[in-house]
Symmetry: D2
Subunit: 290 residues, 4 copies
C-alpha cells in the first residue's frame, strides 16, 4: 500500500479487437507517462475486452484536465469504449448508511481511523438514533431521518438524504446493514456506487432473515455477499463473498454472531476495492482487478 500520489487510473471495456493494448500503452508511453499498473482480461464468452491501467502523472505531457478529451477523441468512439478516469489525489467521499447494528460501522470506522481506507467519510446517515454514540466516538456528523412504518415520508426522507449527498460531494454510498430498501431515484443517482452487504451467500436466501432461512435449510456453510445495489432486490452485481463453516450445533442466534464477522470482512473488502477503483461492472457481473 505504498502511497502513490499523482497517478491517473483508466478503467475501460469495449468489444474485443486486435491492438487495443498496444494502442493504449503506446498513448501513455509516447506522452512520457510511466505505467505502474496494467491488467486486462478478455471475456471470450461475450467478446468483451476489460482493462485497468494506471500511470504516473508527473512528467506526463498531456495536462490532466485534457486527458479525458484525448481518450474520448482518440479511442472511446473508435473502439466503442465505456471508460472511467480517476486521479488518485482526488479522494472518494463515502456516506455511511446504518440502522441499529454497530458491527460493520465500527469495523469501517476503525479501519478508516487506522488509515486503511483512502477516502473521506463526511457523514453517517440513519433512520434511528441508536448508533449516534459511535459516530460521536469518531467525531463524524450523524444525521437521522426517521422513516415512518407506513413509509409515507420515504420520498421526503430520501430527498433530504440526496440533498446531503450533494452538499457533501459524496461519490459513493455504503449501506452498512441499513435494513431499508433504497429507492430507484437514489440508485439512478449513484449507479454502481451504492454498496450493500447482504447477510447470506447470494443468490441463496434473498430477502429477510437469511440466517434463519439458512438454519432451517440445514446448510453446512453460511456466507455474506457485498454487491452494488440495483433496482432488483439483492440481485445487483456481486463484488465479494465469503463463507464460514457451521455445524448442527449452531442455532439461528449463533449464525447471526458468526455471520457478523463475515459481513464485516466482506463489506470492508468491497469498499476497499471500490475506493481503489478496481471494479468494472458489465452485464450485472463485476470484473475485479488485483
Amino acid at each position: 500500500m505504498e502511497k502513490r500520489e499523482n497517478t491517473a487510473i483508466l478503467l475501460l471495456y469495449c468489444p474485443d479487437q486486435q491492438g487495443i493494448i498496444t494502442e493504449i500503452t503506446r498513448f501513455i508511453a509516447d506522452n512520457r507517462g510511466n505505467i505502474v499498473y496494467l491488467d486486462q482480461y478478455v471475456d471470450r464468452h461475450d467478446g468483451v475486452f476489460f482493462m485497468r491501467i494506471e500511470w504516473e502523472l508527473e512528467g506526463f505531457t498531456i495536462p490532466r484536465d485534457k486527458i479525458n478529451d484525448y481518450i474520448d477523441t482518440l479511442y472511446a468512439k473508435r473502439y466503442g469504449m465505456t471508460y472511467y478516469l480517476y486521479f488518485t489525489d482526488q479522494k472518494p467521499r463515502m456516506a455511511l448508511f446504518v440502522s441499529k447494528m454497530s458491527h460493520c460501522l465500527y469495523d469501517l470506522l476503525a479501519r478508516y481511523k487506522a488509515g486503511e481506507l483512502d477516502c473521506d467519510i463526511p457523514c453517517i446517515v440513519s433512520n434511528h438514533e441508536d448508533l449516534r454514540y459511535v459516530a460521536e466516538q469518531f467525531g463524524i456528523p450523524y444525521y437521522v431521518w426517521s422513516i415512518k412504518k407506513d413509509h409515507s415520508n420515504k420520498r421526503e426522507v430520501e430527498e433530504a438524504e440526496m440533498d446531503l449527498m450533494r452538499r457533501e460531494g459524496i461519490t459513493f454510498i455504503v449501506l452498512a446493514r441499513y435494513m431499508q430498501i433504497v429507492t430507484e431515484d437514489m440508485i439512478k443517482a449513484y449507479p454502481n456506487r451504492i454498496i450493500n452487504i447482504h447477510h447470506s451467500f447470494l443468490p441463496a436466501f434473498i430477502g429477510a432473515k437469511p440466517y434463519h432461512q439458512a438454519w432451517q435449510r440445514g446448510v453446512k456453510i453460511i456466507g455474506a455477499t457485498s454487491h452494488y445495489v440495483t433496482t432488483e432486490l439483492d440481485a445487483g452485481p456481486i463484488i465479494e463473498q465469503d463463507v464460514v463453516r457451521i455445524t448442527h450445533r449452531d442455532t439461528p442466534e449463533t449464525l447471526v454472531l458468526k455471520g457478523r464477522d463475515l459481513e464485516k470482512i466482506v463489506l470492508s473488502r468491497a469498499v476497499k476495492k471500490h475506493i481503489e477503483h478496481k471494479i468494472l461492472t458489465y452485464n450485472n457481473r463485476t470484473f475485479i482487478f488485483t
Copy 2:
C-alpha cells in the same frame, strides 16, 4: 482410523428429557460394555435430544442379538426414541450409480482400493456404457440399463435395479453424478440411504447446469453439496458442502473443472460419514457426529 472390531453403535433422538444420558450410559456400564465414543446434542429450538454412543461388544453381557430388544423395551417406548443400532463388523454395502463423468467414480474407487472406505462395493449401475472401463479397471461388476429419452421404460429399469439391490444386499446407494432423477419407490426403499452430489452450493442453483447459472449470476465462490435424496428435487437433508473461490476470469468451463474437485471431496466425505454411522436426520436437517 484404528480398527475396532466388535463394537455396537447406537444412534438415537427423542424429546429432550432429564436423565437420558445417565440412563443410557448406565445401561451399558452395568452390562460391562466399555464406552469408546459418546457424543450428544440438545437442539433447544425444537427440544430434541440427539446421541451417538459406541461400546465394545467384547465382555458385554447382553448377547448382540438381544441388544435391540433391550433398548426397545427399556428405553425406546419410554422416551419416544427413534433409534438405529449398528455393529461395526457388519460392513455397509454400497451401490454406485454413475452416468458419463468419471471423476467421482474414480475418486471413490481409489479410496476404496486404498482402504479408506470401510464398506463393500458389489456393483456399479449406469444408464450408459461409458464408464464400464473404470469398473473393469477395478474389477467391479458394471450393470447398464438404458433409460429411453421418453422415460417410457423408467419403471421397468428401476425394478431391475431394485432387484439387483436386493440380490446384492445393498444398504445404501451413492449417486456419483448419476444425472437421473430417482423415483419415489426407490427413495422409499432407501430412506436417508441414497446420497447425491449436487454441483452447486445448495439451495443456490437448484436443477440443471448450476455452474452456468453461477457464472451468469457472477458469484465469487462456487460450491458443491452432498445430500440425502428425498422426493423434492435437490431439497433433501444436506450432509456436507464445500466451496472454492473463483474470479471473473473463470468461464463456465473452468467452473466445471474447479467444481469437479469439490464434488469429489464433498461426496467422499458424506459417504465416509454415512459408512461410519455418524449421521442422524431430523426435520430435513442432518446431525453429524465427529
Copy 3:
C-alpha cells in the same frame, strides 16, 4: 447465545477409566441438576479422558459453595482428576495489553460494546500513549508504564501491572498485539490465562516480522495464531488459527494489511472460547469444546 444464568461448568481431565461419564452424570442427576451441556473426548494416544459438563444450579440440591468439596472428595482424588469449576454468573475479568496498533483493540472493544463478550474489561494496559484515545472512546481506564529500551525497569513495570491486576480482580490477560515479552512471574501468576495473538501460522515464522519472513519464503497462504503464553516464545498451546490465500502480487505491506483481519478474528474467537470456559489444556495442546 441464549442467556443461561445460574449454571455450573465443570472442566476436567484424568486418566481414561471405565464409568466416569456415568458417575459424573449420575452425581448431577441424583442431586437434581439439569444437564444442559455435555461433551467428552478420549485421547486414545495418551489415554486421557476430557470432559466439559454444564448444569443448571436452580434446584440443584448441593449448595454452590459446597460443590467444589463434593467433586474433590468424591471424584478428583479417586480418578486422578485435574478439574476447574466455574459459575456463569461470575463474569471473567479481562485486562487488555496493547502497544501501538489499534485493530485488535478496536475489534475486541466493539464486540464488547455490542454484547458479544460476556466479561468485564476494567483496564487497558500499554507501554505507549498511542492508543489512549481508543480507551477514552470506550470509557475504559488506560494505564501506561513505559518500558525502557534497555529493559532496566521491566521488573518494576511488571510489578505495577501485577498490582493493578490484583486490584482489579483480573482473571485473564489478552495481549492484543502487545509486542513485549511477558516475564515468567506474570506467566506463573496467570497459567493458561494469558492469550497472545501471533501474526503467523505457527509454528512457521516464529519471532519478529513474520509477514516479511512469509513474503521472503514465497508462501501462498498466510495465517495468524492465538495461543496461551508459556515461557517458551510462541510455543504455548494453540487455541485458534486461521489463514488467508495470498499471491505473488502481495508485498510485505499488503500481507500486513491482510494479516490484520486474520489477527482480529483469530484473537476474538480465542477470547470467546476462554470466556465461555470451553478450553482445556493438556500436554501443550488445547482441547476445545463446541
Copy 4:
C-alpha cells in the same frame, strides 16, 4: 479450457524498465499475431518485471522456428531478459515418480484419463513394486529400480532413471509421494522442472512425519505444499498450498487421511499450472499467472 491449437507462449522477466509492454505487444501486433492472453506484474520490491503473453500463430508473419531468434536479438539482450518460449501444440511430457501410496497417483491418472491434463505420461517410475497394478490399470509402463537401504546403488539407479527420461523425452518430473531425496544431478538436469508434494504447510514441519509433528504441536489447521525441488530439502519455490481445519479429536492417523485429500488437490493444481506454462520462478519465489 477451450482448446487453442497453435499459440505461442512467452514467459519472461527482466529489470523493470519503461516501455517493455508496449514493445512486446507491438512486436506481436506488427507481425499480425492476435494476442489472446497478457498478464504482467512488477515486483517493486526487487524492481523486476514479469510477463506472460500468448498469441495465435495462425497468420503470424514470423515463422515459428525463427521466433526465438527474433526475441533473443530484439529484446532479450537489450532488456536483460530471462525468457521461455513454448508452443501449445508441443505437449509437455511428464514422468511420475511414486513409492507405496496410491492416492496422488490415482488422482493424477484419473485426471489425465478424463482429459484434464494436457500432457503425455509415458512412464511411471518407482523404487517399489507396490503400485504396478495402478500403472497397469491405466496401461502406462511402470519401471522399478530398488534403492538399497544403504543407498549404495543410488547413483546407478539415478543414471538408469535419467537414461529413461532422455529416451522418453521427459520435460518435467512429478514426485507423487516418492519419499526419496532426489540427487543434485537430476535437479540440475531438470531445474524448476521437478515438482514435489510435501505433506505439511511449509515452512512448518520440514522433513519426516509432518503429520505427527503437527499433531504434537497441536495446530488447528494442517496443510500441504507443492514446490519445485531444489538442492535444499523442502525449501524450493512454493507453487501451491492448501489447508484444512482440524480439531483436538484428530489423531495422527486421521491427519494422514485428511492430508491425503490436500496432497491430491495441491499437487494436481501445481501440475496443471506447470503444464499450462503459467509459472515463473525468481529468487526462490514463484509468480503464477491466472
